[in-house]
C-alpha cells in the first residue's frame, strides 16, 4: 500500500516540525483525500493547540500577600507577579479612577459634581456603587455598541465607487439596546447570525441579522454580479471566523489553510451556511400596519386602472376639444401649442401624449379621479427600513472554488463546520443550527475570544495579544489560566448571586472592580526593562481615546452634548471639500440644533468619503471587520483638534460654561475648566502658566479688534468686558481640548 506508506512517512517526518512548516502536506495535490483525512486526524490528535481544547475552570491560585487581591482576577495576575518578584502598582487616585471608569464604560467624561461626590463618598463600596450606576447608564450601550460595530463593519453607505447611502441605523440601535438590556451574549450572537430563522421571529430579531448585511455592495456598471455575491458571502465567512472564533478562515478560501487545520473543502462547507440567503430590505412595521398599507396600495392601483380606462373614453372626445380650442391656445404651454399646430399625422409620439395630457388635465372627471389617487397615496404610511438576511426557498448548490476562483467549480459540498472544532450534530444543518453551534458550551473559542476582546478594551492589550488569531500562528495567552477562568465565569457566573449566564455587564463589573484594573497607569522604571510591554500587568495602561470618544469628551466638556440615544445618523460640521474625494459627490447637509452635537458614533459614515476627523484618529474604514484599531499619533491629528471647526466651536461652549458658572476669579474658573476636562485639580505648576496665558490674552485681545470679533462676533447683549472674557476663554478652552491628557484614558 504505497499510499498509506507515503502518508505515514510524512506524518513521522513532519510532526515535530509542524509549526515551522510553510505548507501542510494535505494541501499537496498528489495526496488523495483519504490520505488527507488520515493525516489530518493524526496531526490533530497529536498537536491540539491550546485554544481548541475544551475550556475548564482552573483553580484560583493562592497568594503570598492575598490582601492586595479584590477578586479572583487578581489572584491569577498577582500569583504571576509574585513568581517574577514584581510588586503591582498602587491604586490610581480617585480622580483618575472615575475618569477611567466613565471613559471605559460610557465613553463620556464625569461631570465635576459627579467627581466631587465620588471624592466625598467614603463608604467602603463607593467604587462598586459608582460602577453599578455607570453600568446602568443608557450611554453604556453606546460605548460598547460602538466596539461591536467595529467588528460588524457598520457603515451608512454601500462602499466602492458608487457608495450609495443605505439604511442600517436600526441595526445600530438594536446593538445599543441589546447591550443596555444586558442581553445574554449567546442570544446576542444567535439573533445576529440567524434571528430571521428563529420560530416566530420578532422584528427586532430580524433587524439583528443586519450584522451580516454590513458587507460592502458594488454597484459599479459592468461588474459580474455573481462574482460580487460570492465576495459578500466570503466576507461573511471571514467575519464569522474572526469575530466568533478568533480564526482566520479566509486563508482557506484559495488553498487549505497553511497553518490552521482548516482545509479548503471545509471553508466551502462553512461558506454553504451563508450561500443560500436572499438580501431583502425589511420594512419595519407590524403585520397590521403592513396590511393596512397594502390595502391602501391595492386601492390606489385599482383606481389607477380605472383612470386609464377613463382616459380611453376621454380620447373619443379629444378632437371636439381641439376644435373648440381656437383662440384659447395661449392658456396652454408652448410645446403643447406647437404640437397642436401640426397636422394630426405629423405629430411625434411624444407630442401626441403631450396633447392628451393637456386635454385630460382640464377634464373635471379626470381631475377628481387623480386627486383621489393622490390622496390615497398620501395616506400610505412610509416605514423605516433596514437591510436583513433571509433564507432562499431554493437553496443554492455550493462547490469548492478552485484556487478561490468562483468560475472554476470543484467538488460539491454540503454545509458543515470544520472538523477541528466541536461537532455540529445534525444532518443538513441550517444557518440557525450553525449559530447555535457557535454559542454551544462545547465551543472552546467563543467565550475565550470574547472575554479577551473585553480585556483588550479595559487594558489596551488582550490576554492573547493577537485578538483576531487564536490559531496556531497567534500569540500565546499571557495568563492562560486567567483566560480560561474568565471564559467559564462568563458562561456560568459564580461571583455574584443573581447573575445569569453570558451576562456581559456582570463580566465587565468583575473586571473593573479588580485591583488589577484599579492600578495606576504610570510607567514604572523598575519594570520597564523586565516587562517593556506591560504583559504582566504590574500597572494599568495609558492610551489615546478612540476617534468617536474624542468628539464625545469634547462635547461633554463643552456642555453641548446631546444625550439622545439612537436614531438616524447625523451630519456634524466638517471641513469644506471633504466630500470631493469620491467619484460620486455625496451630500453633506450639516445638522442643526441638538443634532449638531450628537456623539461621534452617530456621525453619518460614507465609506468612500468618510468623516475626516474620524479617520484621522484611526476609526476603521468599515470595509472589513476591525477587531483592533490602530492608535497613531500624527500632525494631522494636531491640525484637526486645533483647527477643525467642529471642535473649535465647542471651545465657545466650554468658555460660556465657565463664565456662567458660580466662579468668578480666574484661578477658580481655571480649576473648574480643568475639572470639566480632566476630572482633577491642576497642580500649581499647571495653574500658573494657564493663568498667565489667560491674562495675556485678556490684555492683548482688545488691541486686535478684528481677531476679537472673529473669535466672538459682537452682540448687543454682551458688554465689552464679557466680550473679551469670552474670546480669551475660547483660546484657553482650545488649549485644554488639545492636551494629551484630555484625549487619553489614564
Amino acid at each position: 500500500m504505497p499510499g498509506r506508506f507515503r502518508t505515514m512517512k510524512r506524518v513521522l517526518l513532519v510532526l515535530p516540525l509542524l509549526n515551522l512548516m510553510l505548507s501542510p502536506l494535505w494541501a499537496n495535490d498528489s495526496s488523495t483525500s483519504g490520505e488527507r483525512d488520515t493525516l489530518r486526524a493524526t496531526i490533530n490528535k497529536n498537536s491540539t493547540h491550546w485554544s481548541f481544547k475544551p475550556v475548564t475552570k482552573p483553580d484560583i491560585p493562592t497568594l503570598q500577600t492575598p490582601s492586595w487581591a479584590r477578586n479572583a482576577i487578581d489572584h491569577f495576575v498577582l500569583s504571576k507577579l509574585e513568581s517574577t518578584g514584581i510588586r503591582p502598582s498602587s491604586e490610581a487616585d480617585k480622580e483618575t479612577l472615575i475618569r477611567r471608569l466613565s471613559l471605559d464604560l460610557l465613553g463620556l467624561l464625569p461631570a465635576p459634581a459627579e467627581v466631587d461626590s465620588f471624592l466625598r463618598d467614603n463608604r467602603p463600596d463607593a467604587y462598586e456603587k459608582l460602577v453599578d450606576s455607570l453600568l446602568n447608564s443608557p450611554h453604556y450601550g453606546e460605548r460598547w455598541g460602538r466596539h461591536w460595530l467595529d467588528l460588524a463593519r457598520y457603515a451608512d453607505s454601500n462602499g466602492f465607487n458608487i457608495d450609495a447611502p443605505r439604511n442600517m441605523w436600526k441595526y445600530r440601535d438594536w446593538v445599543i439596546h441589546a447591550l443596555n438590556q444586558d442581553m445574554p451574549f449567546d442570544r446576542f450572537v444567535v439573533e445576529q447570525i440567524a434571528g430571521d430563522m428563529l420560530p416566530n421571529a420578532s422584528l427586532d430579531q430580524i433587524i439583528a441579522t443586519g450584522f451580516h448585511r454590513n458587507t460592502l455592495l458594488n454597484q459599479e456598471g459592468g461588474i459580474d454580479k455573481e462574482q460580487y455575491r460570492v465576495e459578500y458571502v466570503v466576507d461573511r465567512v471571514n467575519t464569522t471566523g474572526i469575530v466568533f472564533l478568533g480564526l482566520t478562515l479566509g486563508c482557506a478560501r484559495c488553498h487549505s489553510h497553511k497553518f490552521d487545520p482548516v482545509s479548503q473543502e471545509e471553508f466551502y462547507e462553512f461558506f454553504a451556511f451563508f450561500n443560500s440567503t436572499e438580501e431583502p430590505t425589511l420594512e419595519i412595521a407590524s403585520d397590521r400596519e403592513l396590511s393596512i398599507r397594502n390595502a391602501l396600495r391595492a386601492q390606489a392601483v385599482a383606481l389607477e386602472v380605472e383612470l386609464e380606462a377613463y382616459k380611453e373614453v376621454l380620447k373619443e372626445t379629444q378632437s371636439d376639444w381641439e376644435s373648440k380650442l381656437t383662440g384659447q391656445l395661449d392658456s396652454l404651454e408652448v410645446p403643447v401649442q406647437k404640437a397642436l399646430a401640426l397636422d394630426f399625422g405629423k405629430r411625434s409620439e411624444q407630442q401626441v401624449s403631450l396633447i392628451l395630457d393637456a386635454y385630460t388635465k382640464q377634464d373635471p372627471g379626470f381631475q377628481q379621479r387623480s386627486s383621489n389617487i393622490a390622496e390615497l397615496k398620501d395616506k400610505q404610511p412610509h416605514f423605516e427600513t433596514s437591510l436583513v438576511m433571509k433564507e432562499r426557498n431554493e437553496p443554492r448548490e455550493t462547490y469548492v472554488h478552485i484556487k478561490g476562483d468562483f468560475t472554476r467549480h470543484g467538488k460539491t459540498v454540503l454545509a458543515n463546520v470544520p472538523a477541528i472544532l466541536h461537532p455540529l450534530k445534525k444532518s443538513q444543518p441550517s444557518r440557525l443550527d450553525m449559530a447555535r453551534w457557535l454559542v454551544s458550551r462545547d465551543n472552546p473559542l467563543l467565550a475565550r475570544v470574547t472575554v479577551n476582546r473585553f480585556w483588550q478594551r479595559f487594558f489596551g492589550t488582550g490576554i492573547v495579544e493577537t485578538e483576531n488569531d487564536f490559531g496556531t500562528q497567534g500569540a500565546l495567552p499571557s495568563h492562560p489560566e486567567l483566560m480560561d477562568w474568565l471564559a467559564v465565569e462568563f458562561m456560568d457566573p459564580t461571583t455574584y448571586p443573581q447573575s445569569v449566564p453570558w451576562s456581559v455587564k456582570t463580566l465587565h463589573r468583575l473586571i473593573v472592580t479588580s485591583a488589577t484594573y484599579r492600578q495606576s497607569s504610570h510607567v514604572r522604571p523598575d519594570i520597564k526593562p523586565v516587562d517593556p510591554y506591560n504583559r504582566l500587568l504590574a500597572r494599568q495602561s495609558r492610551f489615546r481615546l478612540d476617534a468617536e470618544v474624542i468628539r464625545d469628551v469634547t462635547l461633554t466638556a463643552s456642555g453641548l452634548l446631546s444625550r439622545k440615544i439612537g436614531g438616524k445618523s447625523v451630519f456634524p460640521p466638517q471641513p469644506a471639500g471633504a466630500m470631493r474625494i469620491g467619484q460620486m459627490k455625496r451630500p453633506w447637509d450639516t445638522s442643526d440644533g441638538s443634532d449638531r452635537y450628537r456623539r461621534g458614533m452617530y456621525t453619518f459614515f460614507w465609506r468612500a468619503t468618510p468623516y475626516p476627523s474620524l479617520m484621522v484618529f484611526d476609526a476603521p474604514d468599515s470595509t472589513l471587520s476591525c477587531t483592533q484599531r490602530n492608535r497613531s499619533n500624527t500632525p494631522l491629528q494636531a491640525l484637526t483638534l486645533l483647527n477643525d471647526r467642529a471642535f473649535f466651536e465647542l471651545s465657545r461652549g466650554l468658555a460660556e460654561r465657565v463664565l456662567n458658572s458660580t466662579f468668578s476669579s480666574d484661578s477658580e474658573r481655571i480649576r473648574y475648566a480643568f475639572k470639566r476636562c480632566l476630572a482633577r485639580e491642576p497642580a500649581n505648576s499647571e495653574l500658573q502658566p494657564l493663568l498667565q496665558f489667560l491674562k495675556h490674552q485678556k490684555q492683548q485681545l482688545p488691541q486686535f479688534p478684528e481677531e476679537l470679533n472673529a473669535l466672538v462676533p459682537k452682540s448687543t447683549d454682551m458688554d465689552s468686558a464679557r466680550h473679551v472674557e469670552t474670546a480669551a476663554w475660547i483660546t484657553l478652552s482650545r488649549v485644554m481640548f488639545n492636551l494629551d491628557e484630555f484625549i487619553t484614558r489614564e
Binding site: 466602492f160 465607487n161 460592502l216 458594488n218 459599479e220 456598471g221 459592468g222 461588474i223 474572526i242 482566520t248 497553518f259 490552521d260 468560475t407 493577537t466 488569531d469 490559531g471 504610570h522 510607567v523 514604572r524 522604571p525 520597564k528 526593562p529 471641513p575 469644506a576 471639500g577 471633504a578 470631493r580 474625494i581 469620491g582 467619484q583 468612500a608 468619503t609 479617520m615 474604514d621 470595509t623 472589513l624 490602530n630 497613531s632 499619533n633 500632525p635 494631522l636 494636531a638 491640525l639 484637526t640 486645533l642 483647527n643 477643525d644 499647571e686 502658566p689 496665558f693 486686535f704 481677531e707 472673529a710 473669535l711 482650545r734 488649549v735 488639545n738 492636551l739 494629551d740 491628557e741
Partner: protein, 482 residues
C-alpha cells in the same frame, strides 16, 4: 526654548536615561523641537523618523502619474497596423475563450469587432519609441522613457482595479504603495507629510480614499490629499481670530503642560504628541508657501501650462516638483476621465484629445524641469492607469474600447532606470503579451526595489498573514535597472 522647558526636558531626559534603563534608547523627540539643543536620534519613537532601507536605494522620490479610467494603449503607445487591416472584422473566437470582460452581457451578445486606431503613430528620437500623435510633447522626451507594453492586472472593474494597482489586492483595506514606502523608509521632510496625493479631472478617482490608505499600518503613513480649493490640507488654517502669534502662544502653553504630564506619567507617547504638534505648526507655514505657484518664473509656468490658483493637472505636475524638492517621498497625481468606452464625452476622438492635451505638455515639462534642477537623478516617474483597453471596439454611437487587463502599457522615467527602451511585445492584435509578460506585482516590486526596499521583506502581520504589497509574488523587472 524657554528655560523652564529646558529644565523640564532635562529632568525628563534624566528620568528616561537613568531610571528607565536602556529600553527607550531609540526614542527621538522630533528633531524639530529640540533641534538646536540636542542631537536627534534620542528620545522618543517617532513613526515617521527616517529608517534604513534594505539596500542602497537608486532614487529618493516617486512621482506616480495615475491616469484614472484606463488609457487606451492602442491609441497612444502600442502600434498595431494589423488592426487597421482587420478593422470592423469580428475578433477570432480563439481570443475570447475563457476571457472575462467588464459589461460582459452587452459585450458578448455578438462577437465584438476589431477597431483600428485613428491616430498616427511614429517612432521618436534615438530610441525609436512608438508614440502616437496624441502626445507630441512626450514624443520629444521619448528617450527618457522606458515603455512597458505587456503589463497585466487582475481585475476589470475600475474601483477594485485601481485599489489593486495601489495596494496589490482587489479587496479594500490594504496599505497602499505610498504608505508602504513611508512605513519602510520613514519621512525625510521636516514640514510635510511623506505621501501626498494630488487630484485633477472632473471628479475624484473611483474607489476614493482606499487608494491611498494605510490599511493595517498606522495612519501616520496614509496619503494626505492636497486640495485644489481652500486649504491644501484639511484644517491647515487656524480658525479665524487665531493669528500666528496666538497659535504659537497656545502651542507653547500646550507644550509646557504636556511636558509636565510626560514627566509625571513617564509615557513616551506624550513626547510624540508634542512632536506632532510642532510638525503641524510647521506645516501651517510651509504648505501655503508650497502651493503658492506665483513665485515660479513665467517661463516655468508657461512650460507646464500652469496657472496659479487654477486647479489642473499642469498645476499638479508643478506642485509635484515642489513637493519632491521639499523631501516628500511619494507624490501621486490622479487625473480622471480616461474611461473611453465610446458615447457622448467618452469617445476615442475629442474626449481622448482632451485628456491627452491636458497631460502631455505638463508631463514633458516636469521631466525637463526635474532634469534642469538635478532632481531627475533621484526621482522615479511612473505613468499608467488601472488597466488598458481592448483591441475590439464597442457597439456604441461613437468609437471606444472596453476595459482590458491582459496587456496594457505603462512607462517609467527617472535616473533609477534604463530609459530609451520598450519592454515586451504584444501579439499582432495587441490582445496578449507575446514576449516578456509583466504583472502589476512586478511593477510594484520594481518601484520598491528602486526605493531600496525588498518587496518580500517589507511586510506586516495581520489576521494570521504576513501582508505584503505584492502578496507572495512579484519580480523586479531586470531590464529596467540601469
Amino acid at each position: 526654548m524657554q528655560l523652564s522647558d529646558r529644565l523640564l526636558l532635562q529632568q525628563t531626559r534624566r528620568h528616561f536615561f537613568q531610571q528607565c534603563g536602556a529600553g527607550v534608547g531609540k526614542i527621538a523627540l522630533g528633531s524639530l523641537l529640540f533641534q538646536d539643543h540636542l542631537a536627534a536620534a534620542e528620545l522618543l519613537p517617532n513613526p515617521l523618523a527616517p529608517k534604513r532601507p534594505h539596500f542602497t536605494p537608486r532614487v529618493k522620490n516617486v512621482i506616480y502619474l495615475f491616469m484614472a479610467g484606463g488609457p487606451s494603449q492602442l491609441d497612444l503607445f502600442d502600434y498595431k497596423p494589423k488592426l487597421a487591416e482587420l478593422n470592423d472584422k469580428p475578433i477570432p473566437e480563439s481570443f475570447l475563450k475563457n476571457k472575462r470582460f467588464a459589461f460582459m452581457d452587452s459585450f458578448t451578445k455578438e462577437p465584438p469587432k476589431l477597431l483600428a486606431t485613428r491616430r498616427k503613430f511614429a517612432q521618436h528620437q534615438q530610441s525609436g519609441t512608438w508614440i502616437s500623435d496624441c502626445l507630441p510633447h512626450m514624443s520629444s522626451i521619448a528617450d527618457d522613457l522606458a515603455v512597458i507594453k505587456t503589463v497585466a492586472t487582475d481585475n476589470f472593474n475600475h474601483a477594485p482595479a485601481k485599489v489593486f494597482v495601489n495596494t496589490g489586492s482587489t479587496r479594500f483595506g490594504r496599505p497602499s504603495m505610498g504608505a508602504w514606502i513611508n512605513y519602510g523608509l520613514g519621512n525625510e521632510s521636516q514640514n510635510l507629510p511623506g505621501f501626498v496625493v494630488l487630484q485633477s479631472g472632473p471628479r475624484g478617482p473611483r474607489g476614493g480614499a482606499p487608494n491611498w490608505a494605510s490599511g493595517m499600518l498606522p495612519t501616520s503613513y496614509q496619503g494626505v490629499v492636497f486640495r485644489n480649493v481652500g486649504d491644501p490640507v484639511l484644517n491647515l488654517t487656524s480658525p479665524e481670530g487665531i493669528s500666528q502669534d496666538r497659535q504659537r502662544a497656545s502651542l507653547d502653553l500646550l507644550r509646557n503642560l504636556n511636558l509636565q504630564r510626560l514627566q509625571s506619567t513617564g509615557d513616551a507617547e506624550i513626547a510624540t504628541r508634542i512632536a506632532s504638534y510642532e510638525m503641524a505648526y510647521r506645516m501651517q507655514s510651509s504648505a501655503p508657501d508650497l502651493i503658492d505657484l506665483s513665485r515660479e518664473t513665467q517661463h516655468t509656468l508657461e512650460s507646464y501650462g500652469a496657472k496659479p490658483g487654477k486647479a489642473s493637472f499642469s498645476n499638479n505636475c508643478l506642485l509635484a516638483r515642489r513637493l519632491v524638492e521639499r523631501g516628500v517621498r511619494f507624490v501621486q497625481l490622479y487625473h480622471t476621465d480616461w474611461d473611453h468606452h465610446g458615447g457622448p464625452g467618452s469617445d476615442l476622438e475629442g474626449a481622448l484629445d482632451q485628456v491627452t492635451t491636458e497631460i502631455d505638455q505638463p508631463i514633458a515639462a516636469l521631466i525637463k524641469d526635474l532634469k534642469s534642477r538635478g532632481l531627475f537623478d533621484q526621482t522615479l516617474i511612473v505613468w499608467g492607469g488601472e488597466f488598458g483597453r481592448t483591441p475590439m471596439g464597442e457597439n456604441r454611437e461613437t468609437i471606444g474600447r472596453n476595459h482590458h487587463i491582459d496587456s496594457f502599457t505603462m512607462w517609467m522615467a527617472g535616473a533609477g532606470i534604463k530609459a530609451g527602451q520598450s519592454i515586451g511585445n504584444t501579439d499582432e492584435l495587441g490582445f496578449s503579451p507575446e514576449e516578456r509578460p509583466v504583472h502589476i506585482h512586478d511593477i510594484q516590486a520594481t518601484i520598491l526595489h528602486l526605493m531600496g526596499l525588498n518587496h518580500l521583506q517589507l511586510s506586516v502581520r495581520d489576521q494570521g498573514l504576513d501582508v505584503r504589497l505584492t502578496g507572495t509574488s512579484g519580480t523586479v523587472i531586470p531590464e529596467l535597472l540601469a
